[in-house]
């Protein structure tokens, strides 16, 4: 947004006091994540979108093709939802960008910039859901482009992808058919001075999911309050879903405090590992990797 341009880059570490990160600390924490969880990798993004305050080859972190085997309601039904609760904050309220509830707009919120994004987000989501219907219609017309007589049609050495339904499909494979995947990106948000998580979902046929469809994979409590549609800072293209960062620093500060109360000191290296652990409350069905053996 426009506000970002005028916010100076954070120079001094304020991590312990406020839970925010400098770009340098973001890179340190990113290197640590990549080292321990190599499914995460640095990306340079598009050259036209290079930011001077980040190293050229370390603009954002990404992990691709992360499975999402079940929808959120299935998880909820089984009582398996694991939400990290911070002491004295039982609703994990860090994600609640609308403390007064999603119905009430524009008042009593600490993040007016986010507010605008939120309201467009809602409409974009509805639009995307519409497009999905369009897409099916179009696809129906266009799938006439079939080719027959190719050797492919009866090649004994080819096994078709499991996502393609075949008459002989076993019970186990029927479960596989439901597997959606996500690409996750972590960028540095210059305005909020925290990491920011982006989500790009794909259905079983690897077509992009609309936001409404992605809501099925987000915690019902958090989804509409927390996910906004905005432009990715390093990759051009349509707006993408992201977990709004306006409460991230606050939650990190609480975690740092909790750890300190336990007589230990949280190192900035671990920032992203902890960050990924706490955003799991929002996306419990997306099975991305982070080092689980970190306790606080």
């Amino acid at each position: 947004g426009a506000a970002e341009i005028f916010v100076p880059v954070l120079k001094e570490s304020k991590f312990r006091e406020t839970g925010v990160l400098t770009p340098e600390e973001f890179v340190i924490a990113g290197d640590h994540l990549v080292h321990h969880c190599p499914t995460w990798q640095w990306s340079s993004g598009e050259q036209s979108k290079t930011k001077p305050y980040l190293p050229a080859d370390k603009h954002f972190l990404l992990t691709k093709n992360v499975p999402c085997y079940r929808r959120f309601h299935q998880l909820e039904a089984k009582g398996q939802e694991k939400i990290i609760e911070i002491e004295g904050d039982t609703d994990g309220g860090w994600v609640d960008t609308h403390p007064d509830g999603p119905g009430q707009d524009s008042s009593a919120t600490s993040a007016p910039v986010m507010e605008t994004a939120q309201s467009t987000g809602g409409k974009a989501a509805a639009g995307a859901a519409d497009s999905d219907d369009d897409d099916d219609e179009e696809a129906g017309d266009m799938e006439d482009f079939l080719d027959s007589g190719m050797l492919d049609a009866n090649d004994p050495g080819t096994l078709l992808p499991t996502t393609v339904k075949t008459p002989s499909q076993s019970a186990e494979e029927e479960g596989i058919e439901q597997t959606r995947t996500y690409d996750l990106h972590i960028t540095y948000d210059k305005y909020y001075q925290t990491p920011r998580l982006w989500l790009i979902g794909y259905n079983e046929a690897r077509k992009p999911l609309s936001v409404e469809q992605m809501y099925e994979d987000f915690s019902a409590d958090h989804a509409k309050k927390t996910i906004t549609m905005e432009s990715h800072p390093h990759v051009s293209g349509p707006p993408m879903a992201s977990i709004h960062p306006c409460r991230h620093a606050e939650v990190m500060k609480k975690i740092i405090q909790t750890v300190a109360d336990g007589g230990r000191e949280l190192d900035v290296h671990n920032y992203l590992v902890i960050f990924l652990k706490f955003v799991q409350a929002v996306i419990p069905t997306i099975e991305y990797d982070y080092t689980r053996n970190f306790s606080f």
Partner: protein, 338 residues
């Protein structure tokens, strides 16, 4: 040998090895980048352009055999990370939907078969086996409607005539010791990304030596026992992924006149990271028999056929379409923003 006519019904006949075809996964950043290329660079130029894709050998359980293209696919050199491998791609973007529809798919397939075969016969692919990991992407971009039509070919040679399972596939731990597996794993970690296949030579005393695939002719000349290892994008317990197919074709070509290499042990090397730990236990070992037609061992150079066209969502041989108007059309975006 198998005599299927006397076999009791519960005994299965020779089982042909099947390779899991790639499933394409296209980032919306790819379509944005293609749109810009079409407008700013390609114009009406329909000739094939070199692009890149990649695949991972670390996919999570139950996922299909993915290949990815994204915003970086148009850069001059492929960008891969610690667990992804390059796919060398050709993009042919057509100016009209009719040209896209009517393009001669068989001609394209035969052209790819020819290139693959030349890479194998010239020995070029022995030096750089990743050259056999390829794709062709046919596309048409409807710039007014933001509808993208596309069809991927992942060309694979139908050579040798067949590969037959000699035994049931088994996990790597049943064929190699823990020490040997970590030796293999460390070797893979240090390999440059164009080396997506390598060899293990076994000596009579049980010692093993890991070698680059370029050493195959020498190993065959010395008549050493060999295991072929390929970095495998599939996660299935029974099948290797698509890129393994051309490597086996190359292997078969180089051993075609040595009958003692008709039986080959194949390692499908896979690794996954979870909780910060590397896991290779879902890697497979397959014992295969290579079946040639008489012509294939006579030294005749008939170019094999190729297969590998991606199917539609309904499993038919046909193109796919994606409609990104809701996300990309400035008019629709403006309406939503009101």
């Amino acid at each position: 040998m198998e005599s299927t006519h006397t076999a009791p019904p519960e005994v299965r006949g020779p089982r042909v090895l099947q390779f899991e075809l790639f499933s394409s996964c296209i980032d919306s950043g790819f379509w944005s980048a293609l749109t810009r290329k079409k407008l700013d660079v390609y114009g009406l130029d329909e000739t094939a352009k070199s692009i890149h894709g990649y695949y991972s050998i670390g996919s999570a359980a139950f996922l299909p055999c993915f290949m990815n293209v994204d915003h970086a696919s148009f850069e001059a050199t492929p960008s891969t990370d610690s667990h992804t491998y390059p796919l060398h791609g050709k993009l042919q973007n057509f100016n009209t939907i009719e040209k896209f529809r009517d393009s001669d798919k068989q001609l394209i397939t035969d052209g790819e078969a020819n290139e693959l075969w030349n890479l194998i016969m010239s020995g070029e692919a022995l030096v750089n086996p990743s050259l056999l990991s390829r794709f062709t992407l046919l596309s048409f971009v409807d710039l007014k409607k933001y509808i993208y039509s596309y069809w991927f070919l992942f060309p694979a040679l139908v050579y040798p005539d067949a590969l037959v399972h000699e035994t049931e596939p088994r996990p790597i731990q049943e064929a190699f010791t823990g020490e040997e597996i970590s030796h293999i794993t460390n070797f893979v970690a240090k390999l440059p990304k164009e080396q997506n296949a390598f060899l293990i030579a076994h000596d009579a005393d049980g010692a093993m030596e890991i070698l680059l695939i370029r050493d195959l002719p020498l190993i065959v000349k010395d008549n050493r026992k060999v295991t072929l290892c390929v970095c495998d994008p599939s996660v299935r317990a029974d099948n290797p992924g698509w890129t393994v197919r051309n490597v086996l074709a190359m292997f078969a070509y180089h051993v075609r006149s040595s009958p003692e290499y008709r039986r080959v042990q194949l390692v499908c090397f896979r690794q996954r990271f979870r909780d910060g730990l590397r896991d290779v236990s879902h890697s497979l070992v397959l014992d295969l028999r290579i079946v040639f037609t008489p012509n294939q061992t006579m030294g005749q150079t008939l170019i094999p056929k190729a297969v590998g066209w991606e199917r539609t969502e309904k499993g038919k041989l046909g193109s796919r379409h994606v409609n990104l108007s809701a996300q990309m059309d400035p008019k629709k975006l403006a309406e939503q923003a009101v």
